[in-house]
Symmetry: C2
DNA sequence: TTCATTTCTTATCTTAAGTGAACGAGTTAA
DNA sequence: TTAACTCGTTCACTTAAGATAAGAAATGAA
């Protein structure tokens, strides 16, 4: 199970056996049931997540309505905003599926960084990489119609469309469930002809 | 002029006089006329920008149509995606106004980082900060209607609405110019009653 | 100043998304 | 088994955005 974590890390820095042992001894792995809420609006938290298996989602409740803005699946990292600014969270995080993840906090990061400076490097590379990816994703979202966004998603993360409830997917695409239904019908119609 | 740069840096790390002198001697300041294109689609570039005064914008040309996805103004940093992946750029960058900016490249960064390790730290903090800000902005965009997005922008960056042409603003908001006009008329109408 | 160009708004029509309600399928609980 | 619930889809209707064209206002150059 923790091999997934080491695979991920090895994309950025290489670890000695000793370093691997230190990490393995940290007891950061947690298993959570589908539907579990990891973070609530208004709550303060210092927990950062790395998904080993499963899927979690981030959503706001605005005017009593859930607005899903992101999904995180295998090999993805989520540091809630409230960890950075130490303020109450504006959003929720919950498990879409039974999920296995690591739970860490910034203090542990500091400790590991002081023992193994290469982690500092990894963090910077990771942050820059995420930032770049995020910017491309944002641009793509802005420059596309809902229908195009759905088609893009079908290309980029086809698994999501299978594993996530439609109403969450709709709000992730910035539309309402009926619109998603019609949009899919429209696409099917086009492909028939 | 370079005081603006030092003000910016001092938000993250403090510089000795010697360090300031090294930076001042680098000859990185450039003045560019409104309309100048700093980066073209298809072009490779290693230039990173920091705006001291003025405004630049990032836009794609999709189906012959300009799609503006970001504006950068005073005290903001822009590292084009192509600098990171050394691939041809997918987008353009041009000056909305006469602009004064610094132009640097990653090699200079490496050199400065080796002389003054505190810059490494600044880069990581900056990347993380930008990432966090970007995520909030993205969430806000996704969870809002065009009208709400316009109102948000009016709050967050009122200057932009004055200094940027309407058709660029429209595409930045993810809509077409006529829609922006109507939307503004709608808002005025509501406020009258 | 005048003319041409660009920029912004307005109007019309078309298309698609929002809303509320209804329906059926599948699930859960009594 | 039935009743209640959730979820996805569909329908009818409303609202707003896209496409296009035309007109008004601002800008720049001769």
């Amino acid at each position: 199970m923790q091999d997934i974590l080491f695979d991920f890390i090895s994309k950025y820095v290489s670890l000695t056996e000793e370093e691997q042992n230190v990490i393995a001894s940290l007891d950061i792995f947690r298993s959570v049931k589908k539907g579990t809420i990891l973070l609530k609006e208004g709550q303060k938290s210092q927990e950062e997540y790395f998904i080993l298996q499963g899927c979690i989602r981030k959503y706001y409740i605005i005017d009593g309505e859930e607005k899903t803005t992101a999904f995180f699946t295998e090999m993805e990292v989520l540091t809630p905003h409230c960890v950075k600014n130490n303020a109450p969270s504006e959003y929720f995080i919950s498990c879409v599926e039974d999920t296995i993840l690591t739970v860490t906090n910034p203090d542990m990061g500091v400790e590991i960084n002081s023992k193994f400076p290469k982690f500092e490097l990894m963090c910077r590379i990771l942050a820059e990489e995420l930032l770049a990816k995020q910017q491309i994703t944002f641009d793509e979202f802005k420059t596309s119609s809902p229908e195009q966004r759905y088609l893009n998603l079908l290309q980029a993360r086809p698994d999501l469309i299978q594993r996530v409830p439609q109403h969450q997917l709709a709000s992730f695409l910035g539309i309402k469930p009926p619109s998603l239904s019609r949009l899919r019908a429209r696409i099917l119609e086009k492909n028939k002809v």
